[in-house]
Every structure is written in C-alpha cells, then in structure tokens.
Subunit: 359 residues, 2 copies
DNA sequence: TATATTTGCTAAAACGCTTGATCAACACGA
DNA sequence: TCGTGTTGATCAAGCGTTTTAGCAAATATA
C-alpha cells in the first residue's frame, strides 16, 4: 500500500480509486470540480434522473471523477434534504437471550434491505429506560418506522413514545384492541399441525404436555390440539393434558405422569420440554418413536435437529415475523389495527414419530 | 385520544406534549418561534453549552416550548454539521444461524450505547455481494467505524471496501499479519481451563475429543489441553486425543472409541459433541459424572445448562468480544495491528464433573 | 432568415442544525 | 462623561445534498 500523492503535477494516475486513508470524505463538490461541472450535474448523473438531459460525454467525465476520487455519497445530507430517512428501527427485548430474536432481526433485515432501508437496532433486554432511550434515538434519526419485538409471543403495553412513530408490534400484541398493528405466530394452527403429525402417525390417544406459564402460546396450542382432535373425530380427554414448566427439567419431570396415562404419543409444548422427556423416557427403557411418539414445538435447531432420534416439531416463524413486520410497516401488506395478523407455523417432520402405514 | 387543535385562539393548552400524529416533525425553528427567540438560542439551551449565557427565564421558556411541541432533534442535521456521525456499523455473517452472533451484537450494542453511538447492523449470511452492499451503506452513513464479525472464530480475508473505514475484526482475524486490528477468544486458555476442571476433579487420565474440521479453535484447544497436562506434570498421550465432527452426532459416534481408551474423564471440543456423547454413554449404561466426567466448550445455554446432569464447560465470550471490539474501534483499548487481542474464556462449572475431595 | 424548440448545463434555495462573530443594553469605576 | 466589562441574545455562514427554474447554445421549423 504505497500512499499516493494527489498533486496534479504527477504522472498519469492509474484508473484506480485513490484510497483517501480516512481523511475527510470526498464530497459532491470535489467531484464536480474534478469533472469540471456543477454539483447539480453530478447529482443528476448519480441519481440517473431519466428526464435530466446530460451529454453522454459529460456523464462519462463525471463517472470517471467519481471512481477516481472514491466518492461515497453522504446519506445524512441526502435524507436531510429529502426529509425521509431510509431507516427502520427494530427494538428487541432479547437478542442475547435467545436464538429467536436473531431470526426476527434476520427477517426484518432482509425485507428492509429489499426496499432500500437499513436496520437500526436496539436491544433492551426488557429494560424500560433503555427502551425509552432507544426509541428516542430512533425518533431522532427520523426512522421510517419502528418494529417493536419481543422474544416470546406475549401481550405488551405499547410504550408511550412509540406512538410518535409509525410502528408495528412483532411477536407481541396490545391487549387493548385497535391500539396497534401487530404480527404474531399462529399458535392455534401450530398446535393443530403438531397434533396432526401424531394423528398421521396413526395415533388416536394423544397426550399434550402444556406449559404452566400463562401465555398466548399456552392457550393457542391447547386450542389447536383440541381442534385437531375434533377434526379427527376424537373426543377431547382432559386427562390427557398435563402441565409442566416449559424447559428440559419440566419435560423430564413430566415423564412419570405421562406414563400413567398409558399413551403412545405426546405433543410437548416446546422442544426443550421434549428434550427433557427424551431423557425421562430413556431412563424408563422406552424407545422413541416405537414406544412413544414425540412432537415438540419451536423447532429450535440446536436441539430438535440433533436429538436422537431427531425431533418432529413445528416451526416458530420468526424470520417471517420480522419480514412481515417490515412489510406491514411499509404498507405493503394489508393490516388492520383490530387484530394481529397471524403467521403460520409450519410443521417439520423428523424421526420422532413413526410413519404410519394405513392398514 | 382526542385530537388537539393547535389554534392559538383556543383555551389554555395543558402542559402536555401535543402529539403531532406523524405530520412533519417539529423543527428547531418552530420551537424558536414558539418561544420567541432565535434558533441559536434554542440550540444553546438544548446542548446546555456552559459558556453560553442564557437568562434562566428564557431557558425556561424554551424548555416549555420544546415540551409543548414535542420537539425531537434531527440527528441527521446534527451529524451533518458536526461532520462526525454517531454510528458504528456491525456486519455479521450469521445472526440467524447461531445464538452466538446475538451475543456479539448485544455486547457491541451495550458498549456503543455507553459512548453515545448507535449500532447499524447488517447480516450477510456470508454472501459477499450483500457484504459489499452493507459496507457501502455504512460508508454512506459515515459510520465512525465498522465491526466485521464472524459467527465462529476463523481467519478471514478483509473485504477491500472495508479499508475505507476504520474497522476491527471480531471473532476473526486476517492471516496476513499487521493487516488489521482484531479481537478473538483465547482458545488456548479456554482449552487449558476446560482441562483443569477435570484435573481439579482428581483425574489424571483425560481424553480430548477434538474436531475434525480445521479451525483456530481446534489447534488452540488442543494446545490448551496439552498445556494443562504439562502444568500438572502429566505426560501428553496422543492416544487420548480422538477426533470427530463437532456436533451431536459426532459426539455420539465417538463413544465407542472413547471407551476403548479406558478413561474416566473427557474434554469435548464443544457442547454439542458433549450432548451426543451423553447419549452414547447412557446407552452403555454409564453414568455422568461417576463413570465418566465430561467437560464441553462454548457454554451454549440451551444445551449445557439443561443437560442431565448440567454440563461443565467453558464460555465463549461473545458478549465481551463485541464490547471489546467497540472499545478497540473507539481507541479506548490498546490494540496492535500485529496480533489479535485475546479475550479469556471463563470456565463454567456444573455437575458433569464430580468434585474431588483430595485425600 | 427569423422564430420556435430542444439540449445541456448551472444558479441558488432549501433541508435542520451548530457556532463563532457581533451587537445592544446595561452596570461599573474613574 | 467616558471607557470597560458583562450579560443576553441574534446573525449568518456552513455542513453535503437535491431540485426547480432558467439560461445559452444548438437544432429544427417555417
């Protein structure tokens, strides 16, 4: 890396961007001077205005100057004049806590990018003060809008300042109806799909280990379970619904109760629970899926895909949630204030349920 | 929510921000007019310039106007005049793929925030084109600098355009020495710490299941393992080093070979491997930690903390990596271009290694 | 040849803010 | 009465763009 003199008096400069090693950035004006035109012309060339009349020759001269100088437009100045920024804010309460938030970010990012927006993210870990600061920051950057997301599906009270911007709730919703646009996973459909995996496996007596912790997921998945049963003409038996804390320990601890129910198929509230249940089942000398077919929920990759046997489950559509949130914000998707838009949770079938060869 | 008329002729307006429901944002000028002062004065009040002389009364008037109108400064305009933006860019190759990247973001966020910077993130999923676009975007927003991070520790070639900005490599490094500042986990120390957990457990014959995939982690952890052994006066036995693909299946598959080695303690390249090994061990009727003490690496929460028994492991300091990256970028931490700064990997002891009561 | 039209480009205002230079008003000591 | 300070506030330039109105030259039309 030989530093290159910029004296006009030196030998012919090669057609290579002269790396200005982090001095003042090159401005439009400098490009204009280099090309011997006005800044207006340069601007027109850059933005390829179709109704602007620029001689091909001039256009080339400008382009060369741009390349030569390694010009980068100043986005700040741009948005200042245009009045509207190209930012979308994303405030999340748990990027760190779970892999889930990462997927939301990812989906939002991709979709935002697609429409020429950059993501301004803020992780609040649930801290309300941080949250307020984060929103203030985004407001000051005049974001196009804000995605307010939570790491698990839940009701939330919309922070006051959020209302100063256009916003969409992602993976959460406001309890007071009509207060906000929102996009959430379709828990009922998910619960139904999960149960149907078992149904397709030929099972008619299916247990459901629900969570003890109140949440939309808890109610929704249960409802989905009931719906699936009903659709299959199987009467709902409350005896077959257990409850446990929704993690590995909970699943493990539920083993004994489950075995009392004399079932050969179980739908677990989530993958972590299923993981614990695997251990419990194994300790009882039971094999999966032969002695017990198991279905989880969440499709937590690290777990579900690598359990032995790999776990059939239902995917929480975090990526889609993020993407849909952006589309809704941008007004690309229809959305009402009255009820959250539900995103479907696709089933992911692996080996923890044996395929059923119908007699 | 009654929309509030702003006519000057109406009754005394309550001291509450009149929410401008997303019309044009309020500007400095409007505040100035409302307070009956010049924009300069408002600016001075807002930025609490200490050497500016403003009558207490005026100051109040301005503050009231600000509150009244719900004024939010325009960050774009601000940075435009100041010349330096308050952004730090973070390009990551795998926010989605792993929970790890999330931690890097989190750490970077917190540290950046602490110094008044906002994070501009871009997820590239390893796509070089996306990466170039992302960097260009950041350059246009005149970021203070860019953190270039990878989801696993590895050498990387620095994208050309990255050099246009101030940058720091996070969780990766440039093979050509002196090319870039970088911050990475201290694999050797980590490997050593992991081995020491076993040593403290009273074990002298310790196996190491290394990864088959070449990586700094593979070499570093092995070296750390050797160092720990040497420090304990135990000769290194190549027979005790196995290799497997670094995931659950790999760990499971390594069980047989491991048992041939006649050891009662094993250090696994990562937690996922340990998870698989747990299964293998259990199938052989072996109990952890009594028949086999196991230590992992990575401290992947979902797994390590919830295995049965919970897994002793070593933490990959992703949060710290992100934070240190920001500090290095800002010149708060010393940093040389010649070798990456190493961040320590702290041991996390759980129940997969029995405590040793020294005789 | 005179006039209308098209082409190629520029001047200058505006976007919302910061800041150094100024300035008016007033108080003080000589 | 006059300098000299001090206080409280304003003026105006400038940050890097975009964009509209307009101008001069070239070309087409009659």
């Amino acid at each position: 890396m030989i530093s290159q003199e910029k004296d006009s008096g030196n030998a012919a400069t090669p057609d290579v961007p002269v790396r200005k090693s982090r001095a003042q950035p090159v401005t439009l004006r400098e490009v204009a001077e280099a090309a011997g035109v006005s800044t207006a012309t340069v601007s027109l060339v850059i933005n390829k205005k179709k109704n602007a009349r620029i001689a091909e020759q001039t256009r080339q001269r400008v382009k060369d100057a741009i390349r030569q100088l390694g010009y980068r437009p100043n986005a700040m100045a741009k948005t200042l004049v245009s009045g509207t920024s190209r930012f979308i804010g994303l405030v999340a309460d748990g990027v760190a806590t779970t892999p889930f938030a990462g997927q939301i970010i990812h989906g939002a990012q991709d979709e935002a990018w697609k429409h020429g927006y950059a993501l301004l993210i803020a992780n609040t870990e649930g801290n309300r003060d941080l949250e307020t600061d984060a929103i203030a920051m985004m407001l000051e950057y005049k974001v196009r809008g804000i995605l307010y997301s939570t790491w698990f599906h839940r009701p939330t009270v919309v922070p006051e300042t959020l209302r100063e911007a256009d916003f969409v709730l992602v993976n959460c919703f406001s309890p007071e109806p009509g207060a906000a646009r929102a996009v959430v996973p379709d828990e009922e459909q998910g619960g139904k799909s999960a149960t149907e995996i078992l149904l397709r496996g030929g099972h008619r007596r299916i247990a459901f280990i629900n969570a003890t912790t109140p949440a939309p997921a808890r109610d929704g998945r249960l409802q989905g379970y009931k719906d699936a049963l009903e659709a299959a003409g199987i009467p709902f038996d409350p005896e077959l619904v257990l409850e446990a804390y929704p993690d590995q320990e909970g699943g493990y601890g539920a083993t004994e109760e489950l075995l009392k129910r004399n079932v050969a198929a179980v739908f677990c509230y989530n993958d972590r629970m299923a993981m614990g249940l695997y251990d419990g089942l194994r300790e009882n000398g039971l094999s999966i899926p032969d002695d017990m077919a198991v279905v989880g929920f969440d499709n937590q990759e690290v777990i579900a895909a690598h359990l032995r046997p790999p776990l059939s489950t239902v995917s929480l559509p975090h990526y889609e949630l993020g993407a849909a949130g952006v589309r809704m914000l941008l007004g690309l998707d229809e959305a009402s204030n009255d009820s959250a838009v539900k995103i479907m949770c696709p089933a992911v079938e692996r080996a923890s349920v044996a395929v059923h060869s119908p007699a």
